[in-house]
């Protein structure tokens, strides 16, 4: 179960308070009428489903009810950042630079 920092409430809360709402940064086309069926289909149905860095839309559904974005590593579930709607992620798979992770401790 995740431990999620809500950028609106500005505190960590349990995952139980949140809902995942799919991939982030999929804007509704501004001119739907001029989209081809293929373009509209891609907007509606196609998602990247990456292994590794993923930008997701979440909502603090039983908290402040606000949506926000999250950059999460789908391999180890680490939440790398959260940011508000309209903001850009600072961590992207193109940059591929992860923040310092907890180091391996073998035998301490």
């Amino acid at each position: 179960m995740f431990y999620i920092y809500c950028p609106h409430c500005e505190e960590h809360r349990e995952e139980e308070e949140f809902h995942a709402a799919g991939e982030a940064h999929i804007p509704r086309p501004l001119d739907p009428e001029n989209c081809s069926d293929k373009e509209w289909g891609e907007y509606m149905f196609f998602r990247t489903n990456p292994r590794g860095i993923h930008h997701e839309l979440w909502v603090h559904s039983v908290g402040c009810r606000k949506f926000f974005n999250m950059t999460r590593d789908t391999q180890n579930y680490e939440i790398l950042e959260v940011y508000k709607i309209g903001e850009k992620p600072s961590i992207t798979s193109a940059a591929a630079k992860l923040p310092a992770q907890s180091k391996v401790q073998e035998g301490v």
Binding site: Y3, G41, M44, N76, Y77, V104, Q105, E106, V108
Partner: protein, 1010 residues
Amino acid sequence: MAQQNRLIEGGRIARDSQINFSYNGKTYPGFVGDTLASAMLANGIDVVGRSFKYSRPRGIVAAGAEEPNAIMQLGATEATQVPNVRATQQELFAGLVCQATNGWPNVEFDMMASLGTVGASVMPPGFYYKTFMYPKSMWNTYEKFIRKAAGLGRSPLEADPDRYDHYNQHADVVIVGAGPAGLSAALEAGRSGARVIIADEQAEFGGALLHSKQSVNGMPAMDWVASVVAELAELDNVMMLPKSTVNGYHDHNFLTIHQRCTDHIADRAEKNQSRQRMHRVRTKWVVLASGAHERPLVFGNNDVPGCMLADAVSTYINRYAVVPGKKLVLMTTNDGGYQAAFDWHEAGREVVAILDTRSYQGTDTSAVIDRARELGIKVLTGSAVVEVQGAKRVSAVSIASLNSQGDQLAGPVSQLSCDTVASSGGWSPAIHLSCHTGSRPVWSDQVIGFIPGETVQKQLIAGAIGGTFDLQSCLAQGTRAGAEAANNAGFTVDATASGATAESVAETAPMALFHIPHPKETSRAPKQFVDFQNDVTAAGIELATREGFESIEHVKRYTALGFGTDQGKLGNINGMAIAAKSMQKTIPQTGTTIFRPNYTPVTFGAIAGRNCGELFDPKRFSAMHQWHLDHGALFEDVGNWKRPWYFPQPGESMQQSLERECLAVRDSAGVLDASTLGKIDIQGPDAREFLGRVYTNAWAKLAVGKCRYGLMCGEDGMVFDDGVTACLADNHFVMTTTTGGAARVLEWLEIYQQTEWPELEVYFNSVTDHWSTITVTGPNARKILDQVVDDIDLSNDAFKYMDWKAATVMGVPARIFRISFTGELSYEINVQANYGMRIWEAVMDKGAAYNLTPYGTETMHILRAEKGFIIAGQDTDGSVHPYDLGMGWAVSQKKPFSFIGKRGMAREDCVKEGRKQLVGLITADPKKVIPEGSQAVDDPKQSIPMTMLGHVTSSYYSACLGHSIAMAYIRNGHNRMGETVFYPQADGSAIEATICSPIFLDPKGERQNV
């Protein structure tokens, strides 16, 4: 009765507290401080179960969580039955009642044993898959007997009378395991002021020290443990959890700890006391000090009762003062194993021989060999037990010398007489929790085991889990890990403090040996068990690799290695080693399977906690619920709501009730509690614009005081909700949604406002619970309203259909909506929920003169179906757009903004000919009601598979119309009015029906406009 294997002194048992327990119907004595297993061994109980597949007698092997055989059915009453309890982890209490889980009819005489011995060769791995697959229809029959014979424990047939609960906690440092490393860590972290939780599955803290004869800080190890526990108890910031297993290590340092609060006291908990508790802990740092499990060696007939782990033998002798036999043969690959023989010897029983599998050059020796010889114990180096003799107890062993690699015998086989065989193949670190985090374990040749790999969590390890088995190192690592964890969590640690110390002992390197060779090849040798719980043998694993199962995950699934309730704690590494050798690979090349939560089985009670019974799922009631109860309503679940389904009168059948309720509405008046409909309050200067974007129809010109029905679609153009929205003011609307869709619609509105159109200033609030809604409907509705409404003109001219008005009802402020879901003259009275009951009762009182009849959801469904009104979710399924529903009138293609759904419903597939369309049906036989879900065909005599045209979504008998009615999808249905279709039924018959408009009653809508 004598406890023949109990020593007259020693152990950590309370000798002044003798208690009795019952096993398989016989009463035995034991002591407080015993486990069930130690008490059974004290009483000389050799056979504790029968094996899963071959039904071989099995005895206690281990002393902890890794025990595969002593799996008991616990419980003195039916309600307190607990299946699959490990006797080694169950503390003894007075009056404990248990039964062996396996064995039918009983463990001493087992029907299945004949199959196990005589037919052994007929049950290779995959036996069940290969044998019982065909014919498929017989599996249920086979399974019943297989399960009965195998005996997997049973669930209680009565409700659990005990209470369980959950604790949600936050911590700075959680320490898993209270052995030397864990205790050292707890001390260090605790002293820093960090919030520390230290949990251990055993009854007492101490871990391996509980049966150790070593010293710490110059005092007996358990004296040191007592001093640490005393200090920790003084620290308010430290929570000590004995009898508590950290069973799961989840994302973001979330741990689930299963605490057994009263399982050691009695068959059930005291009143008002929790039997078990699940701690759900979020922690900044974790120190895993979970120790290691000893590995047995694999040899012929190694499952005969009397074969045990070396360290388990030491545990029973030192901790419980129980010597589980008279004549011991010990086989070991390492120095540590010798301790069992020393303890046995000290207990005054005979050690026949120590077989050290390691070859020593010339006159080489080691400290443990010297000590054994000083004690007069025979040590045979480079030797091993190849086979055990005996049925229900070891009677002798066959031994032989080994080559230095341990892969071949190097000498003739000879016999030794004994009744106990202890073996130690070294230690497997208990890396289970580390694996839960997704971290792949790594093989260490030095440890001869898997140790935790790179971690993604904020986690440290200390002690045997990392392959450190020396006491001094464990203490030092614990101290360091505790300090580092506290430090990392933001606490200051006294850097000058040093941890506890113990004497370091020089050891001879252990030998990597898992499977003892036999004079015969493995497939012909006596069975060499790897996984006791699932009867997986070395031969079975070799067969699996020969049959081409090369991945260890496939070997596991094919042989069932590690599938039991013990999750392969004892056998996994041996199994992998055998598979690796058989494929001529190394263990790291073969890889390992991954452990998943839970570490040991957890009761459903602990998982559920208080979330059971009434608290399992919240129920929602309207303010008038008590009235419905008092008037005999039956209820239907709609989401979490309890809605009246119908109100039967004495002696009425359901159908009779529905007909009475329907006719009352059509003839005079009915009343419905509509409070559960979702209500969303929408405010803001851009509210109107926003509605225009989310609904398919136009909202720009809806005047204040007016209501409008709207359809809501997804971006794909498919209908997902509908409802009436009223304009309260130019910047204020109230939207109604379906009862079940309220939460989803609210989130839908929010996501568009927040992520797509943040420039629109509009705010949404759920007000479902704030209002009670009383729907009065029928030709006499106005007459009833007249008597309860204080201040407004209800005439058709002053208060038109699809208007709403603020009014005062019996002195209470109200909103009245003149909207209709029945097709009759209708008013929906909305009052603050607190007044709901009062106004409902007043309406009922005044309505009595007009036979005002309460009705429920079922009558509501019939009444709306007579009018062809859809119910989103019943008549829609996410694949129909408004035009399919014949509701193109509710779609405004002229709106400037491309509303949600507009582009979707214009897709090629959505505008093509021949889509399934909603129509009405009238059956040829007016009494025949077509079952909902029935599929239409043109020709019921066509061959199967028939060409299906669409299904029935709603179907009722209409008392008002005197015939059955249905709503259904028919391919191209809007163009097939008047045609006949058939609905084949399971009994071979076919119901004939004619396609018609779904508006069966009052197609012009005159009744609602009067």
